[in-house]
Subunit: 87 residues, 2 copies
């Protein structure tokens, strides 16, 4: 399964990561809140690294194989970023 | 100025970091919400790295010197962690 556009692939362990930049802290907070909902829906909590105007998501896969369930987080995060920037 | 107890010191650039573990995601969220209030009060947004049951705070200082204002974030974070675990 290919990483979605804009996601970087890490090896050992296999993972996808992406950095999102935002105009201000309010947008960053809004994005983080949307990600919380995604996590609760998918039951998966990736490592999130953030400060005032950026969020880096690191999705890690076990056994060096892309898990389709976890992979869903990537597309949902992209949608959440778009939603954040449009709101 | 010494790093408070439990905070690790990084060099080049100078910084303090600490990892907080929590029993569940609800506690992690509560702690992050308290940190948001600290950031808004101090006007400083350190790098936060978290997943379901941990948060790592990385405070960075400029010009290799401890800035007392930013240093306040460390003590406030410790208080917030205690508050989180007692609630």
């Amino acid at each position: 399964m290919q990483a979605p556009e804009g996601w970087e692939i890490q090896r050992h362990p296999l993972g996808w990561s992406k950095r999102y930049a935002f105009a201000n802290y309010a947008q960053t907070r809004h994005f983080l809140d949307l990600l919380t909902a995604v996590s609760e829906k998918l039951g998966y909590y990736p490592n999130l690294n953030f400060a005032k105007t950026y969020v880096v998501i690191a999705i890690q896969f076990e056994n060096d194989a892309v898990d389709p369930e976890r992979a869903k987080f990537a597309a949902a995060a992209d949608d959440s970023a778009q939603q954040t920037r449009e709101s």
